[in-house]
């Protein structure tokens, strides 16, 4: 033992003390922090902690009306899935539909009513109470209504279907205005107009992709956005699974869309000549004796100008291809031609779609399984008659400028983003003295509001949907709240009902739920009394549980024959484009990407979802043919200005192998200036520079008819994308097999076929 002197002793004590302290600190530091277990005060009936509860509802991300099942745990929505029993989507759901959760949980959601206390369009929103907000709005409305100047009130809403549309209608009536406009950027105005002209019905028919053996799609991106993409995907898959009768899909469009990639054949016709091409095919079908109807002579007359040689010249598709397409289209049974998106958005859009209807008629596809089937009238209200086209909104802007609008009520609609700059819509809004927005988010349009009364998201509120493009029979579904409201918001319907009460025009419902129930009560009353449940309450419970209601009322025998006048009026002019072809050599095609019309741009999942064709995330790009790029000396990532007569947007070049050299394409959806943290100041919005060239037949802007030029800026940015090299290099990663092999396939997977 060494001698321990005083000094050593102090050292020892010090060391021991430090050691002990370190030990205590060590153990304390690895302890778990304190947590709480918060029980319910009163546990809900169907609640079990740790066990998922599913609620059926309806997706409201687009107008397709897919049924959804929402998985909730501990009172929080966790996952949205397709409702397997809903005939539209049969369990499937697209990316945007699933990202609906991020509408609900979006960090940029408005948590309560706001009042603009500084200049319009600034950040000067302050929190107010609902009472305050509603009073402010109601007093404005009341003054106008009482003075009999209700028409100076305009309502602009996102396309709303079902009984909520009725509620809004009733409100508009109450305040005495006929300025109720539903507005969806991608509402197929041209398609309605074409159907009206050819079939005499302003309806969307059911396109039976599922049973068709030969599909000609003229610009319709049916797998990724056109009408009801999930249902079309099901039909596409089912047709592909036909064993010996595997469906053959042809896509005719200047820029390959996801549907074009999935198709068996992609035909890059000149933009705007789709209708001419269709009539060329029709000409061949009639001329080669495939059509034997009584009105054959009339058809021969009207189609005489569309010989294959001429059409080949105009469309830039070789005669042999045209002949082959016509032959196989006529010979395949059933076959189907659809048209939309790119083909419908030209100056000759309605004519084009009429020509496509004619093609269906001549091939005998109308009213046939695997062809065009007419839907029965929807059981609930649809909004088409109220859908605002470009002309309507331009008119509204005109009235606003003329000082004829005093109050504008916006519901979850963003025309400032989707209207071309040339329409000066934003400036027109500034002329309106009072704007109130019911949006859940601040977007470019609601930023201009004076008062924002934020509404619930669709997962927190009641509603219903009767998908119009349908499934060939009547179908409807109720959208029920799957989660208690997260914030101090109110359902759109309830806000409107409250306003109606405050201006002394109470409606006959107490709440949105009441309105929806009332509507369904009517459906219940109208249903066959032999088969229906004993009471409405049991019907209602069953409806909520199943999430969907349907009635087998197929319109099988309906074959609308066009009359002689209709036939005589068929004809497609060469498309017109704004801008001089010399100065502006390229046709701009703004196309709908994963962000829908831009409303999904604030959802991080969608921002992070690689684009279906290019795997780009977080940003905009300009698609350009490799040859064009080479001629212009541009490579991927070169920042360019896309200039039209109306203005310019800036985006990087992306060399895209499947686009015509005289066309450039840009995705819609990015380029928000004020739409939350995920969307703002990202990319460019090609809609801004569109020329206000309107197809008079549909009243909508011809969004594919703007010519542009590319001006290199000399700058370079890195396009953010997930892919590496998109070439297989002979590694056989995606393997293919010839036409013969697949016929051996017998173990096809059964997919529920919609009976038609």
């Amino acid at each position: 033992m060494p001698n321990i002197d005083r000094r050593d002793f102090i050292k020892l004590v010090g060391a021991g003390g430090v050691g002990v302290g370190a030990g205590v600190v060590l153990r304390e530091s690895i302890k778990h922090p304190k947590e709480h277990l918060i029980p319910h005060v009163l546990a809900p009936e169907d609640y079990s902690s740790g066990v998922a509860t599913w609620y059926n509802s309806v997706c409201s991300m687009c107008s397709a009306g897919c049924g959804i099942s929402v998985r909730t745990r501990e009172g929080r929505a966790k996952k949205i899935e397709g409702n397997p029993s809903h005939a539209v989507n049969q369990g499937g759901l697209c990316a945007v539909g699933q990202a609906g959760l991020q509408v609900l949980y979006n960090p940029d959601r408005l948590t309560g009513p706001l009042l603009q206390s500084a200049n319009r369009g600034s950040d000067g929103f302050t929190q107010i109470t609902w009472e305050d907000g509603l009073t402010r709005v109601a007093s404005r409305l009341d003054v106008l209504r009482a003075a009999g100047r209700g028409n100076r009130i305009a309502l602009l809403t996102r396309g709303v279907g079902g009984h909520l549309a009725e509620l809004l209608e009733s409100f508009a009536e109450g305040v005495g205005t006929d300025q109720l406009h539903h507005y969806d950027y991608d509402h197929p105005h041209a398609l309605y107009a074409a159907n009206e002209r050819f079939f005499g019905k302003q309806h969307l028919p059911y396109y039976d992709l599922s049973n068709t053996r030969h599909l000609l799609s003229f610009g319709a991106d049916y797998l990724a956005g056109w009408l009801s993409p999930v249902h079309h995907s099901l039909g596409f898959a089912n047709s592909r699974h036909g064993g010996d009768n595997r469906g053959y899909f042809v896509q005719i469009e200047p820029r390959m869309s996801p549907s074009g990639a999935a198709a068996d054949e992609w035909v890059p016709a000149k933009p705007g000549t789709e209708g001419i091409l269709a009539l060329g095919l029709a000409h061949h079908i009639v001329a080669s004796g495939h059509y034997e109807g009584e009105d054959i002579n009339e058809w021969k007359d009207v189609l005489s100008a569309y010989t294959l040689e001429k059409v080949a010249e105009e469309t830039d598709v070789s005669e042999s291809v045209l002949r082959r397409l016509a032959e196989s289209f006529a010979n395949a049974s059933p076959s189907l031609a659809i048209g939309g998106d790119g083909a419908g958005n030209n100056s000759n859009g309605v004519d084009t779609l009429v020509a496509i209807n004619a093609l269906n008629y001549l091939a005998g596809n109308v009213g046939e399984v695997g062809g065009v089937i007419f839907n029965p009238d929807p059981a609930g209200a649809t909004s088409h008659s109220r859908q605002a086209n470009y002309q309507t909104l331009a008119q509204l802007a005109e009235s606003a400028r003329a000082g004829e609008i005093d109050v504008l009520i916006l519901n979850d609609v963003n025309p400032v983003f989707t209207m071309p700059l040339a329409s000066e819509f934003k400036a027109a809004l500034a002329q309106i003295p009072f704007i109130v927005s019911l949006s859940s988010f601040i977007d470019e349009t609601s930023a201009l509001a004076d008062v924002i009364l934020p509404s619930h998201t669709y997962l927190e509120s009641w509603g219903d949907a009767f998908p119009e493009q349908g499934v060939g029979f009547s179908i409807g579904a109720v959208s029920q709240p799957v989660i208690a409201p997260l914030y101090n918001t109110k359902a759109t319907g309830d806000i409107v009902l409250d306003l109606a009460r405050r201006i002394g025009k109470p409606m006959r419902w107490d709440s949105t739920e009441d309105c929806i129930k009332d509507g369904w009560n009517k459906i219940y009353q109208e249903s066959d009394s032999n088969t229906r449940t004993e009471s409405f309450e049991s019907f209602w419970t069953a409806l909520l549980k199943a999430g969907v209601w349907g009635k087998k009322n197929h319109l099988k025998t309906d074959t609308s024959r066009p009359n002689a006048n209709t036939i005589a009026s068929i004809g497609v002019d060469a498309p017109t484009f704004s801008g001089d072809a010399e100065l502006y050599p390229f046709v701009l095609q703004p196309y709908r990407s994963g962000m829908h019309d831009g409303r999904a741009a604030n959802l991080p999942w969608i921002q992070e979802l690689p684009d279906a064709m290019t795997s780009v995330v977080y940003g905009s790009w300009v698609e350009i043919n490799p040859k064009t790029a080479k001629d212009l000396g541009l490579t991927e990532g070169d920042l360019v200005d896309i200039e039209s007569v109306e203005g310019a947007v800036r985006a990087p070049i992306l060399v895209y192998p499947a686009i015509r050299p005289d066309v450039i394409a840009m995705p819609i959806g990015q380029g928000h200036t004020n739409y939350g943290r995920y969307a703002s100041n990202r990319g460019a919005n090609p809609l801004e520079i569109l020329s206000p060239l309107v197809d008079d037949n549909s009243g909508n802007v011809a969004s594919n008819a703007t010519r542009v030029k590319i001006v290199a800026t000399g700058k370079h940015v890195e396009i953010v994308k997930t892919g590496g090299k998109s070439r297989d290099l002979g590694r056989d990663i995606v393997q293919t097999t010839g036409g013969d092999d697949h016929t051996a396939q017998t173990n096809s997977i059964p997919i529920t076929v919609i009976p038609t």
Binding site: K78, A237, W605, G739
Partner: protein, 254 residues
């Protein structure tokens, strides 16, 4: 079981074909490339179900996205005779998985259901499994990810949120498989019925291109689909014995 037995069992597991026939399940998936349109619904479904982080634009720029399931694009030919082939690529759950041998801490191994596991809390982050994986479907957490409130309320409580330094990958939605087994036990059944369990991607696929099920059950949809003459495995020449089988895209003549 003696130590030696365990070792020999380990060897047997990797050598003997049909080893999993002894067990209840051998999960497998088929993807029909003739039906897949590359829409990306499965990608989002996976992200929603499995608490995949929102990594942000910077991380994408750096190539640090986390997508257990991604769509690969392969262009073929030049304009105008150009085609795009897409293929969903996720963990192939190889029965002879290269990643399993290399993990020094056994954070990834093959379980008795024929699944290639990934145990996040065991992972020390050597990232060697990602190097060894020829399909490059293993994703690494380069930093801690945050969900801006209230986005965090969406997180699936049945799936762990991964911390920085941990490898992750497709699990065939193991939480759903376990849930289905649990339900089967509640019902007094020994086995999960065919179609009772579907990973999120399979469930959501709008064109029903994906089929998931038990390969040991000859009646199951997936077994029938595996017998399709169009079936093939990606990078089969590497002998990974993957459990994800693709059905060839058909090139039909017009």
């Amino acid at each position: 079981m003696s130590f030696l037995d365990r070792i020999t069992e380990g060897w047997r597991k990797n050598r003997k074909p049909g080893y999993y026939e002894d067990f209840d399940y051998h999960w497998a998936m088929t993807i029909d490339l003739d039906q897949c349109s590359g829409c990306g619904a499965c990608v989002t479904a996976c992200q929603a179900e499995n608490n995949l982080p929102i990594v942000g634009e910077d991380a994408f720029t750096k190539g640090r996205e986390i997508k257990w399931l991604r769509i690969e694009h392969y262009w073929e030919g030049e304009y105008p005779d150009v085609k795009l082939n897409v293929i969903p690529m996720m963990c192939q759950h190889c029965d002879s998985a290269p990643c399993e041998t290399v993990c020094p801490v056994s954070a990834t191994y093959h379980n008795q259901d024929g699944l290639n596991t990934q145990i996040y809390n065991r992972c020390i982050g050597t990232r060697s499994c990602a190097v060894y994986c020829p399909y490059e479907v293993r994703y690494f957490n380069y930093n801690d990810h945050t969900w801006e409130s209230p986005l965090d309320q969406q997180l699936n409580p049945d799936v762990s949120v991964r911390e920085k330094g941990v490898m992750e990958k497709c699990t065939f939605c193991i939480q759903r498989i376990r849930q289905a087994k649990d339900n089967a036990k509640d019902d007094g059944r020994r086995r999960v019925r065919d179609g009772e369990v579907q990973p999120a991607c399979v469930q959501t696929c709008p064109s029903k291109a994906m089929v998931f099920g038990d390969r040991n059950d000859p009646q199951s949809q997936v077994s029938q689909s595996l017998n399709d003459p169009r079936s093939y495995k990606v990078l089969d020449e590497l002998n990974t014995n993957s459990s994800v089988v693709y059905l060839k895209k058909v090139e039909a003549e017009g």
